[in-house]
């Protein structure tokens, strides 16, 4: 952490300044009526942080539950190992005894088979349990992927609806931009990463994103993290 701060000292300093500014603004309680848009932005952030807090809490709870489950598992595994060791010892003693009497051999064999069967059953059951647990874990992951894909689709669609390309530009242009989003979907920064070489085309791309703001980002804060910074590659479609 410390190293990171050292490495990004400017960023950190600016962040701290921002933080203080926002704290100040919060203390004043945002009651000033400014005609400016900035107030709206603050509002957004406050709202979003509340959402964040809830989900963050849920996340923490989840992690704790996970930890507990893991502990439980560990204890169970220990017990099983102990039992197994005991059984082995008993068997060895038995084997020694039974070497003396061949008459009991059949009985023993039968018992062994039964044991094996039992063990197999146990194993199968364990596997089932494991699978169930894994599924439980995977389900939210699937949901997340779905959400992520949908948000991506919706964002692209909204930008496309707002993307007016200039008439007098050569075809086969490509422009890459990076945008920074607030959890509200508001676009706070647009940066051309790879210019198309045509200013008019680049501007049309920037304008499209700004026009489309706010973008329909996922409400789940965890998924949103992936959308905080997006890189968009623009290529004119065919008409």
């Amino acid at each position: 952490m410390l190293d990171w701060i050292k490495d990004n000292s400017t960023a950190f300093a600016i962040a701290v300044v921002f933080h203080l500014l926002f704290l100040a603004a919060l203390l004043v309680n945002c009651q000033m009526d400014k005609p400016d848009k900035i107030v709206l932005k603050q509002g957004d952030i406050i709202q979003v942080s509340a959402v964040d807090a809830n989900s963050y809490d849920a996340e923490v709870r989840k992690i704790e539950q996970k930890k507990k489950a893991e502990q439980r598992k560990k204890v169970q595994a220990k017990r099983k190992a102990q039992e197994l060791a005991k059984k082995k010892k008993q068997e060895e003693i038995r084997k020694k005894k039974e070497k003396q009497g061949k008459a009991d051999e059949l009985k023993r064999k039968k018992a062994a088979v039964a044991k094996k069967k039992k063990e197999a059953l146990k194993k199968a059951e364990q596997e089932k349990k494991r699978k169930k647990e894994a599924d439980k874990k995977r389900q939210p992951e699937l949901k997340r992927k779905e959400q992520r894909d949908r948000a991506e689709r919706e964002i692209v669609q909204k930008i496309e609806r707002n993307w007016r390309q200039p008439l007098e530009v050569p075809s086969r242009l490509e422009c890459k931009i990076e945008i920074v989003l607030l959890p509200s979907g508001n676009v706070v920064a647009v940066k051309v990463v790879e210019s198309s070489g045509n200013q008019a085309f680049d501007r049309s791309v920037e304008t499209a994103v700004r026009k489309a703001s706010p973008l329909p980002v996922p409400t789940d804060s965890v998924i949103f993290k992936e959308f905080e910074v997006m890189r968009l590659r623009f290529e004119p479609g065919s008409y």
């Binding site: 200039p166 008019a200 304008t207």
Partner: protein
């Protein structure tokens, strides 16, 4: 659980802090971890919606020139822009005043032009204007002019050029002139009056260069924009003249036996290519203007005419019916005259004529016949692809704008000759130029003007 409670209490601040930390980090420091990459391939093409607020005039009476509406008409005529009409403007902000951006966002306009014109005494005017991006709220152009009254229209066209350049990344060609021939359409040939005129690129501020009772044809600009060459029948046959615009001084260039026609300046301005029939039938010649020495370029019993220079001055294209029907040929030119044999450029269709090069030399514009209709077409020299641009039946005399983005040509409207402008890629419908009285024909678009 304690941890959770604590989180709830300080979560807003903590998260705010961190999210801001991240945010700022993202904005100012390039990020090291993977970024979501998305492709945007759709979008739509349309004219650029722009708002031009009428230029503020706060003195008594009316402003001498309505600069805003000239700019608006210029931009609309280019087809690249669709200016909001005045009654669609949500407000009329001034240069210093506040702008209600949310209201502008609702208009779908992307750029806003605000300006003012002020009389500053001694017949001079100050014009200030700025353009701003409605979505970034930043000024993209800010400019001030101080001019005489007679220069006001030109200032308006220069403002159009600045806006065009800023938003299309291409030099504008509004601050240019056009030359054309007007005939009063009298059914009695003896009462017809032919006029050679020069006007602003929007057809306004017309000035008459020559008036005659006999036909005038084929006006063409010198590369420096200071002279016109043309053909006049005032002596009952075609003779080539050259006229200086400011002084009106005129010089006879060619009055040989037979046809003297189709003059066109070489890009260096030192030579004139032309059609003469003094040696039998129409052939292409190049005249060195200073020495009046003639070089014969073609030698064929068929018609060879309508020469046009390539932008590098190293070749001429011309119309010839040596293969039976008029087609376009190209011949290399050196200082000594022709170097090499003409080679045919057009094969599509049985009538291609009146060709000229685009300023970049990549394509030629020509008149092509298609089902008995004469239309303006563009031939890409690289792949020999011909694109028809116009839709009437008697389109002629296409002339490139200095920036190569637009063409001016003559067409007919209800039997009357008019001028229309069209973008070279054919992406929008033709824009009719101010309709003058009479039959307007043979537009010639000037090169860029010196400022």
């Amino acid at each position: 659980m304690q941890y959770a409670k604590l989180t709830i209490r300080i979560a807003p601040f903590l998260l705010l802090f961190f999210s801001l930390l991240f945010l700022v980090n993202y904005v100012f420091v390039s990020q090291a971890h993977a970024v979501l990459e998305v492709e945007v391939k759709g979008g739509f093409q349309s004219a650029d919606p722009i708002a031009i607020v009428p230029f503020l005039w706060s003195q008594s009476g009316k402003a001498p020139v309505d600069i805003g509406s000239i700019v608006s008409a210029d931009l609309a005529r280019s087809g690249v822009f669709s200016p909001l009409s005045i009654n669609q403007l949500p407000e009329r902000p001034t240069l210093e005043g506040p702008i209600n951006f949310p209201r502008w966002k609702n208009t779908n306009v992307e750029n806003l032009v605000i300006g003012q014109i002020t009389a500053i005494g001694q017949g001079r005017f100050e014009i200030k204007f700025k353009m701003l991006d409605i979505f970034t709220k930043k000024n993209s152009i800010e400019y001030r002019y101080n001019v005489e009254k007679k220069q006001l229209r030109r200032v308006a066209h220069q403002i159009s050029d600045q806006i065009y350049q800023q938003l299309t990344d291409t030099k504008g060609a509004f601050d240019t002139l056009i030359a054309y021939v007007v005939v009063n359409n009298d059914t009695d040939p003896k009462k017809r009056i032919y006029t050679l005129a020069v006007a602003d690129s929007d057809g306004y501020a017309e000035q008459i260069i020559l008036k005659s009772k006999k036909p005038i044809m084929s006006p063409v600009w010198s590369p420096n924009g200071k002279r016109l060459a043309y053909v006049s029948f005032e002596k009952d046959r075609s003779i080539i003249y050259m006229q200086e615009l400011t002084s009106g001084k005129r010089k006879t260039i060619a009055k040989f036996k037979g046809i003297n026609s189709a003059p066109v300046w070489s890009p260096d301005g030192k030579r004139l290519a032309m059609t003469l029939s003094k040696d039998g039938n129409s052939e292409i010649y190049v005249m060195h203007i200073a020495s009046t020495v003639l070089q014969r370029i073609t030698n064929h019993y068929s018609i060879d005419t309508e020469p046009a220079w390539s932008p590098d001055g190293r070749s001429l294209i011309f119309t010839s019916d040596r293969a039976g029907k008029p087609q376009i040929y190209q011949v290399a030119i050196s200082q000594k005259g022709r170097s090499g044999n003409p080679k045919r450029l057009t094969y599509e269709g049985d009538y291609n004529a009146g060709a000229s090069f685009s300023p970049d030399g990549q394509s030629i514009v020509l008149i092509t016949r298609e089902q008995e209709r004469f239309r303006v077409g563009i031939l890409q020299l690289a792949n020999r692809q011909l694109q028809i641009l116009t839709r009437s039946r008697l389109d002629e005399s296409p002339s490139f704008a200095a920036n190569g983005k637009m063409l001016l040509y003559a067409t007919e409207l209800r039997g009357r000759g008019i001028l229309e402008a069209i973008s070279v890629d054919g992406s929008h419908s033709p824009q009719r130029l101010r309709v003058l009285s009479g039959d307007v024909r043979e537009p010639a678009w000037s090169p860029y003007r010196g400022r």
